[in-house]
């Protein structure tokens, strides 16, 4: 449990002759939510997969609290756009999967924690439901809850709400902010949605086109009380406009 520092240094990755990552340097301090924004196809997901341990960098390192990442681990929970729920398990069993596999908790403690997690994520009453019977928003909440059940120090989110409609996505942003406030977790959020980055992030990193680098970092100046009302804040609108311009001009 707790949070951890996430650091990527000089991460490079190519697929054949396509140079995707051209030396990524980024540091996320413990408990911070770092939003990484970049144009489509610039390698954001590739970077996140390297951080999760699902792929290897050609050069450079990824470290958690100074220890190099090698392979996937319950210490780094990753949620992608399609979610990671196992379709054959009920919601309750999906949420209990991690604690059971790691042996972090005993049987009754797992039940108690999963019940509490379902309440916190607004999924109580759906414990016996199969993932396919849930709405898109509920599935993504459940996918994040499934990962958080392991209490990972680092959370990696790869456009987790990309498949949802605009209203649901906004509700998910507010929900995730509250959840991360209750369970502080070092979070790397990869997105191409500027609103999402500005509503969820403490800091914003902008990636260039391929071969990608982090070309600019900005502290997001809005407080913890962010939500739909923030969208109309002149400061938010100005920052969004500037960020959008920067992304579009590469």
């Amino acid at each position: 449990m707790g949070t951890a520092a996430l650091r990527a240094s000089g991460v490079r990755k190519s697929f054949g002759t396509v140079h995707v990552l051209g030396g990524i340097d980024v540091t996320v301090v413990p408990g911070e939510t770092y939003a990484l924004l970049g144009p489509s196809g610039c390698g954001k997901s590739t970077l996140l997969r390297i951080m999760a341990g699902f792929a290897e960098a050609d050069a450079g390192t990824v470290e958690i609290d100074g220890k190099p990442v090698s392979g996937p681990s319950p210490q780094r929970g990753m949620v992608a756009q399609a979610g990671g729920l196992f379709p054959w398990l009920s919601l309750r069993d999906n949420l209990a999967f991690g604690p059971r596999e790691t042996g972090r908790l005993s049987g009754s403690a797992i039940d108690a924690e999963v019940t509490e997690l379902m309440v916190r994520t607004g999924l109580d009453g759906f414990g016996d439901a199969l993932p396919r019977t849930l709405s898109g928003g509920m599935r993504q909440r459940a996918a994040i809850a499934q990962v958080l059940a392991n209490r990972p120090p680092v959370l990696l989110l790869d456009e987790p709400f990309g498949a949802l409609d605009a209203q649901t996505r906004l509700r998910m942003h507010e929900w995730l902010r509250e959840l991360l406030a209750e369970q502080p977790t070092t979070t790397m959020l990869v997105t191409h949605d500027v609103d999402e980055a500005l509503l969820l992030g403490d800091r914003l990193g902008l990636m260039s086109a391929r071969p990608a680098k982090v070309v600019e970092e900005t502290v997001i100046p809005f407080g913890a009380d962010r939500g739909r009302h923030t969208l109309a804040d002149p400061e938010f609108v100005a920052l969004k406009s500037r960020v959008l311009e920067r992304v579009l001009t590469g």
Binding site: A52, G53, P74, L89
Partner: protein, 254 residues
Amino acid sequence: MVVPLALLGVWFAVSAGGAISISILPPPQRVATAAWEFFFGDSRVTLPGVVPFVGSGGLHIGASVVRCLVSFALAIVVGVIVGLGLGLSRWVSDLLDPLVNALRAVPLYAWLPIALVWFGIGETAARVLIFIGALWPVLIATADGVGRVPRGHIETARMLGTPGRRLWRRVYLPSALPEIVTGLRLSLTLAWMCVIVGELTGTTTGVGAMMNAARESGRIDQIVVGMLVFAVIGLIADLLLRMIARPFIRWSQT
């Protein structure tokens, strides 16, 4: 039910019209009488090696079902284990895939002579033939199902703490279960169909043995009874298998 009833009507009409000889296709009422005798007639003591017909329905069906289930169970165990190996391991696939594909192309009747030579006339040869017939669908379905498990499921499990050695149980098997069940249904149907081939090896009990004895004595009505028994039990077996499997694969059904 419309089509079977229509066929029954055609059968009645053709038999009553005398268009087809009774020795080629007996009328439905004669088959019904034979079926009654098969199940409820006075059983009589028969000579050793002679396959009885009257009053022996339960005996024959029981023998065939047990023979089928034993071989089917063995085919499930071997098929799922080898299928998992083929689907999970490149090394096992390189080693066994050509052999599996060659062997499953051999028709069951081609195994009959060699089964008789290797295992002799009777029970073992019958069970081996049923096992061979039932093996391939479940084996291929398991290998295919396991090969199609989405990479995302495997990555999620690894990320949540499942070690590599437990992935087959936690992810591969449950994810491939719908395909495996489809293979099991096909295997069960084939196992049941192979019972008749297996019982051609000289067993003295079983519906196939009864039908073979009926053929030798020219009793078409008894052969038709055997065919109907195969059809009805095959249907019931498939329904039962689907019922048993449903709770495990309901997640994949729309």
